[in-house]
Symmetry: C2
Subunit: 146 residues, 2 copies
C-alpha cells in the first residue's frame, strides 16, 4: 500500500527541487528544522519532530531526476517502507511525483501521514517558489496528531 502525491513547482527546475530534498539546508527549510546526518548515497539522515522522528537511508540518487530513501528507524509502521521522489520539467512547472511505498496495513496513522505529506509537499513548493517554507515546528497542523 502506497501513499501517492503530485505537485508542480512554478518557475523552478528539477535541479533546484533536487537540492531541496538532498541537502540538510533544503530539507530543514521545508520538512523539519531538526534535520541532521549524511545526505549522500548510503548515508543516513535523521529527521526529528516534536513527538519523535525518522531515520532514512539514502538508497538511490540520480541528480535532478530521482531520490529514494529507506526508513531504517522510526515508528514501527514506517520501518522498511521506502520513499521515492521523481522529478521532471514540464513547461513552467517542475513536477514532483512522490510515493511512500510499502505500508503493510491501511491503519489510521497511514491516513494521517498521507494528509501530512501533502502539507509538507506544499511547504516544499512554497519554499522553492518563494524562499520560505513551513517546516516543523512551524508546520500547518491538521489534527490532534499534529
Amino acid at each position: 500500500m502506497d501513499i501517492l502525491h503530485r505537485i508542480g513547482i512554478e518557475k523552478s527546475s528539477p535541479e533546484k527541487v533536487y537540492d531541496a530534498i538532498t541537502t540538510l539546508d533544503g530539507l530543514s527549510d521545508w520538512w523539519t528544522e531538526k534535520t541532521v546526518g549524511d545526505t549522500g548515497l548510503g548515508g543516513v539522515i535523521a529527521f526529528r519532530f516534536i513527538p519523535g522522528g525518522f531515520d532514512m537511508k539514502v538508497i538511490e540518487l540520480d541528480p535532478g531526476r530521482l531520490v529514494r530513501w529507506e526508513v531504517v528507524d522510526g515508528p514501527p509502521e514506517w520501518i522498511g517502507t521506502t520513499i521515492r521522489w521523481e522529478l521532471e520539467q514540464r513547461g513552467d512547472y517542475t513536477i514532483a511525483l512522490f510515493k511512500h511505498e510499502g505500508w503493510r496495513e491501511p491503519v489510521e496513522f497511514m491516513h494521517h501521514c498521507s494528509t501530512k505529506w501533502a502539507i509538507y509537499l506544499m511547504s516544499l513548493k512554497q519554499l522553492v517558489e518563494t524562499g520560505e517554507g513551513a517546516p516543523s515546528p512551524r508546520d500547518v497542523m491538521i489534527s490532534d496528531w499534529h
Copy 2:
C-alpha cells in the same frame, strides 16, 4: 488502490461536519461552488470544476457517522470508485477518516487527486472551524493541473 486521509476539526461536532458533507450549502462552501443535485440517499450530486467534474450517487448515510458516495460519471479513472467518510468525536476534535477507494491503477492522476483531496479536506476543516472555506474556483493550486 485507495487514497487515504485523516483530519481533525477543532471545536466542532460530528453533526456539524456531517452537515458540511451532506448539504448543497456545506459542499459548495469547501469543495466546489458549483454543487447541485440531491444529497439524500440514492440521490445524485453533481460537482463541477473548471475543467469538468464528478457525479456522485449517495449510497450510504448514517447521520453524524458515515457517508458513502459512488462515482457514476466523470473522468474514466473515477467511474466506479467510491468515497467513504467516517466521523467520530475524540476530545476536542472531530476526526474525519477519508477513503477514495477502488482506483484501478496508480496513475499520475491518482497522485494528483490524492494531494488535491488533502487540500480540499483542509478547506473543509477551515470552513467548519472558521466559517470560511476555500472551494473551487477559489481553491489552493497545487500544480499545472490546478
